[in-house]
């Protein structure tokens, strides 16, 4: 089934859907321009703006549901942005509204959580301003009806991500991590920009309607556009080979890691691939590359996750891995789109819940992040333990919880497409079972390995309630979306649907194998980290452990391939500048200076020698005159 037609729309709640973007943007502007005067109530304004955006989102969603299934793609024209080139408008359709609800819903919960988490931070108002800025930019990214608007949002979330990773800029590591994220993302943006140039020269338009409608035509360079869009997606979504920034991005405050670097922004790449699906369907090569990138990243992220002792970095590896699943599904075409977005939504719930849980643990343990210093926290932090546990069960795909439905769907779809991809995804699921169990057992079970001055306590209600709501989503979200193909039917007008939707086979061979592998992984993690003693200092481990601890040598590779040659280039340029350019200029000056120094020795101060030279000169002039006169 092809995607439905796009209809212009005015009036109703959909007509004012721009409020969703405008409100958080206004909040950010007030908080940033108002300065210290807004310190006392700034966080409440931030939360209120995010919640208001959520309310508008829900009303828009309800109004959209009221329309016929084929009528659910509405464009709201706003203004002429670049005359003759870009008319800015918002595309409200099942795909964008799914994102809107995730961003504003999870975003609002994380706003509320941050009131408690950041309560002792002197920069709390600034933090909420950036969070609001992020929400506005992310909503523009998913709601814009053209590539230019999407790109503005894309860069906006990049800016917010940079500002929030480096929020504690007094820490050099945070400042460096922020710059790293920004620079790596520039590589991806280069791909996205060139893709947009190609789109403009090919179609003469940036709007999704005409561009995607004609993406399948014969003369369209769909493979090139697809691969360049994938490069952009890789940068934003931390997929191989542009994954290196995500682990360092954990330097930001934990709510940021939960909202931006787990639940929403890093999934923008998946949105881009699904939204531009028409290009990928017209280019099987690009599709193949997308699936390969997805599988490689889901395995790489899982392997990194198995070896990290920093709880946030282990979760970041897991995020990479789960986005790898989404990219894999998005590369499969219409059969995978619904699973990709469904997994994205459920992942938003359970990963946000686990990140916030990790934040709650850090809050209790004096900002300690090393899991080797945790252990046995289940008894003192019951709510955090329960909500984190539900998120953990959801992500490893415990039967009937969220992750089970959506991840199993992706594995089934991949299996349908190519058994190699499918089985690699199954192995990834087994690894997920191991590394998430490792995180869970090391943190909440086993012996207490706390620091002397640690007095863990449960977090305040303003932090636990968001956890509880998110864990409800991570328990029931998957079943709600997948059972009866509900989400696929809802999404199909926006992204199309396969001829025959994939039925759900709970007792298929891959499904059973996945469950067995997950059980083995979890069991191994229990014997190694739950039941037995966890050493306080990480053991040296084998070559493979080091490989995983060093992020699969991704940083080392970047360093030797790009950083060092770049440094040599700058050194060469500096040398050329110092010796070549400066040498020429300085040499000329020195030459003139030296010769004039010699020349002034003629000025001896003896009046009689001046007189002699005058006489001599006069004689020469007289002789010359005589000579000329004679001629």
């Amino acid at each position: 089934m092809e995607p439905a037609e796009i209809f212009p729309h005015s009036g109703g709640v959909i007509g004012v859907s721009w409020l969703m973007i405008a409100l958080p943007l206004l909040g950010a502007a007030i908080l940033l321009l108002g300065g210290r005067r807004t310190d006392r109530w700034g966080h409440f304004l931030g939360v209120a703006m995010s919640l208001a955006s959520f309310v508008v989102g829900v009303l828009t969603f309800v109004e959209l549901l009221g329309l016929g299934e084929e009528q659910r793609r509405r464009v709201v024209e706003l203004f002429e942005f670049i005359p003759g080139m870009v008319n800015m408008g918002l595309l409200v359709d099942p795909l964008s509204i799914s994102f809107v609800l995730l961003i504003t819903g999870v975003g609002s919960l994380i706003h509320i959580y941050s009131i408690g988490y950041m309560s002792h931070d002197p920069g709390r108002r600034r933090f909420f301003a950036y969070l609001n800025l992020f929400v506005a930019a992310m909503l523009l990214l998913v709601l814009a009806d053209n590539y230019v608007g999407m790109f503005i949002g894309w860069e906006g979330v990049g800016l917010a991500s940079y500002l929030l990773i480096g929020f504690w800029q007094h820490k050099p590591s945070a400042a460096t991590a922020a710059q790293k994220a920004f620079i790596v993302n520039r590589v991806g943006d280069f791909g996205l920009l060139v893709a947009m140039f190609l789109i403009w020269t090919t179609f003469g338009s940036f709007a999704y309607g005409p561009v995607l409608g004609a993406a399948g035509d014969a003369n369209v360079p769909a493979t090139a556009i697809g691969l360049l869009l994938l490069l952009g997606a890789c940068g934003k979504s931390a997929q191989l080979p542009l994954q290196s920034w995500l682990l360092d991005a954990m330097e930001g405050p934990t709510p940021v890691s939960a909202l931006i670097h787990a639940a929403t922004m890093v999934t923008a790449g998946v949105y881009l691939i699904v939204r531009s699906g028409a290009f990928f369907q017209a280019a099987p090569t690009a599709q193949l590359v997308v699936t390969i990138v997805g599988v490689a990243t889901l395995l790489a992220g899982a392997i990194i996750g198995t070896a990290k002792d920093d709880i946030k970095k282990a979760l970041a590896g897991s995020t990479m891995s789960q986005i790898g699943y989404m990219v894999l599904a998005a590369g499969l075409g219409p059969i995978g789109y619904a699973f990709a977005i469904a997994h994205l939504i459920t992942h938003g719930f359970f990963k946000a819940s686990m990140f916030l849980g990790a934040g709650s643990v850090m809050h209790a343990m004096n900002d300690e992040v090393d899991m080797r210093k945790y252990g046995g926290l289940a008894s003192v932090m019951k709510v955090t333990w329960a909500t984190f546990g539900l998120g953990y069960l959801a992500i490893i795909g415990f039967p009937l919880l969220s992750g089970y439905w959506t991840k199993d769907g992706i594995i089934e779809a991949a299996m349908e497409h190519s058994p190699i991809l499918g089985w690699l995804a199954v192995i990834g699921a087994g690894l997920t079972g191991f590394y998430m169990s490792r995180v869970f057992f090391m943190t909440f079970h086993g012996k207490r390995r706390w620091a002397e001055d640690a007095h863990p306590h449960e977090s305040p209600a303003v932090m636990t309630w968001p956890l509880i709501l998110l864990s409800i989503g991570s328990v029931f979200g998957g079943a709600f979306l997948i059972v009866g193909n509900r989400f696929m039917t809802f999404l199909s007008p926006a992204v199309g649907a396969p001829e025959e939707p994939l039925g759900f086979h709970p007792f298929s061979v891959p499904g059973i194998t996945t469950l067995v592998l997950v059980a083995i992984g979890a069991g191994y993690a229990w014997t190694k980290y739950g039941r037995s003693e966890v050493p306080a200092v990480a053991p040296r481990g084998s070559f493979l452990t080091t490989f995983a601890r060093r992020d699969l040598y991704g940083d080392a590779l970047n360093e030797s391939l790009f950083m060092r040659p770049g440094q040599w280039l700058t050194r060469l340029a500096v040398f050329f500048d110092n010796r070549g350019v400066d040498g020429l200029v300085n040499g000329l000056a020195a030459g003139i200076g030296g010769s004039s120094g010699r020349l002034r020795r003629i000025q001896t101060g003896f009046a009689r020698s001046y007189a002699l030279s005058m006489l001599f000169g006069a004689a020469v002039v007289a002789g010359a005159l005589l000579l000329v006169g004679n001629l």
Partner: protein, 98 residues
């Protein structure tokens, strides 16, 4: 007739020029300069007589006025230098150099 005056004028000028170059005493150098000026005057007057007009004689008066002014200023400088340095040698007054 004219030739004799011109030869005398050239001789006087040469004596003056050599005196300026070889003598150290500022007073003597000064007198040699006067000698050169007056040699010129002689040549001017000679040519005026030969051409039968007064142009050369007028120029001679100008030269005399300039020479008088020069003597006033120059002698004052020489006396001042002698008072400060106890010397009237032109080679000693060599501070204004590189």
């Amino acid at each position: 007739m004219t030739t004799h005056y011109l030869v005398l004028s050239a001789l006087l000028f040469s004596i003056g020029a050599v005196g300026v170059l070889v003598r150290r005493n500022a007073i003597v150098v000064f007198m040699c300069v006067e000698l050169m000026l007056n040699a010129c005057n002689l040549a001017f007057v000679t040519f005026a007589r030969q051409h039968g007009n007064l142009d050369g004689q007028i120029i001679a008066f100008f030269v005399m006025v300039v020479a008088a002014a020069e003597v006033v200023v120059g002698l004052a400088i020489i006396v001042t230098i002698f008072r400060t340095r106890r010397s009237a040698s032109v080679d000693d007054a060599n501070l204004l150099k590189y």
